[in-house]
């Protein structure tokens, strides 16, 4: 038996040596001149424009196959919800439907799967649906998967997206994805309650705090927000431009949890918790629903844009389904004194990306543009990032009797206020550290957020190197 083991061992070593010899790739830069067929959105109508243009594909080096093959079939990987979009596409483009093969996948596992494909040199899909936090990981040296879309997408399409919506997709000047939907922060409020107690919707954080103080002083049983998880906390942090996960380049992050901006946000949240007007429960926790929503104690809530349709909702499936008709008001979040307009953090929102290995970038990019901007978005579940599509989407949303007034202007305005300095990235898993160092100590142990910023900073900085990231610490957030 021993000899067998040695034999196998030797065999493996020989195999390894052979593989090592032939595994070294030979990168080369390709420049291609192509005729590009583009789908462009003009005032909500889809126009197909055929342009002949020089496409310098230096951004797409080996191993993309060249010349490109417009007849090559493409593989599209989406989540279950987006299957619907692909069905609609096939219906509208029957002539190309045969070229597109659709599969569901679990995007959380995908970055790992790509590493396997890279090692055997095949298996990659051509188009994927994923959050920008995966896209940046898929762009790094090890994964090297996503391709630059900028040669394939017209400026007109790019300009149609909400301001800053594409920021998480643009890394080092390359456009790695088109946003599917946005999940910016919005202030939701209870219109009858506001009237009953005579409060005005706050436009600055000082006014917001003042409402909290008034509620505490008069002993009203109301809350003006919640801080029970990272999602709800990061809304307040990003609003104050607190640089905890601010991506500067593909591999550089600014992380400065003890920055003045973070301190002022933390002090405000601490104060509001002390006043008893900020619930220390997750807004999606059944306990929160029972204590504050069902009992009509929630005056305001600062949460993501999809809360309106899906959490307040007004249907049996929505968590706050007891919300009455005409009760829900929406407002632009407050701003700090030194800000021109407010900022918020994303709570969700995904994107479409293309493989750099695709043989048919024409079809792949055309599909991506349609998915992000086309008919599917008009009735999509969440707010489209592409404004002309979002306008159509608003027509369906506005019909919901839940809202006290037309919500579209608020949806539209807040879409441009996602702070580009808050960029979730799979390579920088800040959320468990925020849970452990900010949320749990405050919620379960009665600590102060302000005192926890330093431990948080200490926990965040070492996350960088394993993800291949350089962390700069004594930095001010950029001016966006």
């Amino acid at each position: 038996m021993k000899r067998v083991f040695w034999a196998v061992g030797a065999l493996m070593l020989v195999l390894a040596a052979v593989l090592a010899a032939c595994a070294t790739p030979t990168p080369e830069v390709i420049t291609v001149v192509e005729t590009v067929e583009k789908v462009v959105e003009k005032e909500g109508e889809k126009v197909t424009v055929v342009e002949t243009q020089e496409v310098v594909v230096t951004a797409t080096p080996e191993p993309t196959v060249s010349p490109y093959d417009e007849e090559a079939p493409i593989e599209v990987w989406v989540d279950s919800t987006r299957l619907e979009a692909m069905d609609l596409w096939a219906e509208l483009h029957p002539e190309k439907a045969a070229l597109v093969n659709v599969s569901q996948y679990d995007r959380g596992q995908f970055p790992n799967q790509v590493l396997f494909f890279n090692n055997v040199g095949e298996g990659w899909p051509d188009v994927i649906f994923a959050e920008p936090r995966y896209v940046s990981q898929l762009a790094d040296a090890a994964h090297n998967f996503v391709g630059d879309l900028s040669p394939w997408v017209s400026q007109e399409v790019i300009d149609g997206f909400a301001p800053g919506a594409l920021d998480p997709c643009i890394i080092d000047g390359k456009l790695y994805c088109l946003r599917n939907d946005l999940a910016q922060g919005i202030i939701y409020y209870n219109i009858p309650l506001m009237e009953e107690y005579g409060y005005e919707v706050p436009t600055t954080w000082d006014e917001y705090v003042a409402i909290g103080e008034d509620i505490a002083e008069n002993g009203h049983d109301l809350i003006i927000g919640a801080m029970g998880d990272v999602w709800s906390l990061q809304m307040y942090l990003a609003a104050s431009e607190c640089p905890i996960t601010e991506r500067r380049t593909l591999t550089q992050f600014c992380v400065n949890a003890t920055h003045d901006n973070c301190v002022r946000a933390a002090e405000m949240v601490d104060y509001l918790i002390e006043l008893g007007v900020l619930a220390t429960l997750r807004p999606l926790d059944p306990a929160f629903v029972e204590q504050y929503v069902a009992t009509d104690k929630m005056l305001m809530l600062y949460e993501a844009s999809w809360f309106g349709e899906y959490i307040f909702g007004g249907t049996e499936d929505s968590m706050y389904y007891k919300s009455a008709e005409g009760q829900l008001g929406m407002a632009v979040p407050p701003k700090w004194d030194d800000q021109e307009h407010p900022w918020s953090a994303p709570h969700g929102g995904a994107a479409w990306a293309m493989s750099r290995h695709t043989k048919n970038p024409q079809l792949a990019s055309e599909l991506i543009v349609w998915l992000a901007t086309g008919e599917y978005q008009y009735t999509a579940p969440t707010q489209p990032a592409y404004v002309p599509a979002a306008e159509k989407w608003a027509e369906t949303v506005s019909g919901n009797p839940l809202y006290g007034f037309d919500p579209w202007p608020i949806y539209n305005e807040t879409a441009g206020y996602l702070w580009p300095g808050w960029v979730p990235d799979e390579r920088f898993p800040y959320r468990p550290e925020v849970t452990n160092n900010l949320v749990n100590p405050v919620v379960n142990e009665g600590a102060k957020l302000v005192d926890q910023l330093e431990p948080l900073q200490e926990a965040l900085v070492p996350l960088g190197p394993p993800g291949g990231l350089e962390i700069i610490t004594d930095c001010d957030p950029l001016d966006y």
Binding site: G9, L13, A16, N118, N119, D285, N440
Partner: protein, 315 residues
């Protein structure tokens, strides 16, 4: 002892000759398919992984045997390595004794009398292990939320009102132990029960005639007789607990991605984290190697101490 029960005593002459003749061939034939499969799908990949641990990875692809020991240095000096090791060891220290004693105790208790209840209970104990993945996440979203849990009445006295009171960074390890027991005990109970059924009735009856009561019978007669299985469980449980990965990711999902469990809570998680982040499979291989070595040392202790491989046929 069992010799007594074997009735026949004839045919002494022929046995010796035939035994020599056939012995050589059959054993090897029986073991051959497994050996081939094991080399192809077990030993081969393992050795390949061993090669990886000494390989450099650039752009996610291996440059074989060009890393020296640098992967070992990188992985073992990662600042998350020691915390992960501590987490895993504390989990092992809790879950292995609880699991082994629990399963042996319940199996013996069940086997103490034979009634129809047993089959039903065994199935109940076993089935939770059949639930995995997202569905287990769904169950635990509800189970660990005092507001909506069937066991809420046990949690509310502690002043726990929401899931985040139950799952904190201090309690997670106990939650993991609970989940592990929930999902794995039943399988072991069934195996022990099967082993107990496999015991020779003559022994048990003889012990009863000798005046053993049920407890003495269980502890002094049955337990030693299934000790081989208990050691098997001990080793398996130890290695599986060293590799804990399902429970932390389960809790991470069940808390809506907002859990106190980092994606590098355990060694296995750290390994996949390192591997997915940089595409360096060498790093995860070095951590795997460490896990194997630790388990092997534990196993060597148990196996040589108990002379486990000694069978009646060969030492």
């Amino acid at each position: 002892m069992t010799a007594n029960s074997v009735a026949s005593t004839s045919g002494v002459q022929t046995a010796a000759g035939q035994r020599k003749k056939f012995k050589l061939n059959l054993g090897y034939i029986l073991i051959l398919p497994y050996t081939v499969g094991m080399l192809l799908f077990g030993v081969g990949p393992s050795l390949y992984a061993l090669v990886f641990s000494f390989s450099k990875f650039e752009g996610g692809k291996p440059q074989y045997l060009r890393a020296g020991f640098s992967n070992f240095v990188t992985a073992y000096t990662d600042y998350r390595f020691i915390p992960a090791l501590k987490n895993v060891l504390s989990f092992v220290a809790l879950t292995v004794p609880i699991g082994v004693f629990g399963a042996v105790f319940l199996a013996l208790l069940m086997h103490a009398t034979r009634d129809r209840l047993n089959k039903f209970l065994r199935t109940i104990y076993f089935l939770p292990g059949a639930v995995t993945g997202s569905v287990l996440v769904l169950i635990f979203i509800f189970l660990l939320d005092p507001m909506i849990s069937p066991f809420g009445f046990l949690m509310r006295p502690f002043g726990w009102e929401a899931q985040q009171d139950v799952i904190t960074r201090r309690t997670v390890v106990y939650v993991f132990v609970l989940i592990r027991f929930f999902s794995s005990a039943g399988g072991w109970i069934a195996i022990f029960y099967g082993a107990l059924n496999g015991l020779s009735k003559e022994i048990l009856e003889a012990a009863q005639i000798d005046g053993c009561n049920a407890w003495q019978l269980a502890w002094y007669v049955k337990r030693p007789l299934i000790s081989s299985y208990v050691i098997y469980m001990l080793i398996t449980m130890f290695t599986q607990s060293m590799q804990i990965v399902v429970e932390p990711s389960l809790i991470a999902s069940a808390t809506y991605g907002d859990s106190p469990v980092t994606p590098y809570w355990s060694l296995n998680q750290l390994a996949s984290n390192l591997q997915t982040l940089g595409g360096n499979f060498g790093l995860s291989a070095t951590i795997a190697l460490l896990q194997v070595v630790m388990c092997a040392v534990a196993a060597i202790l148990v196996i040589t101490k108990t002379d486990y491989y000694k069978t009646d046929v060969r030492n």
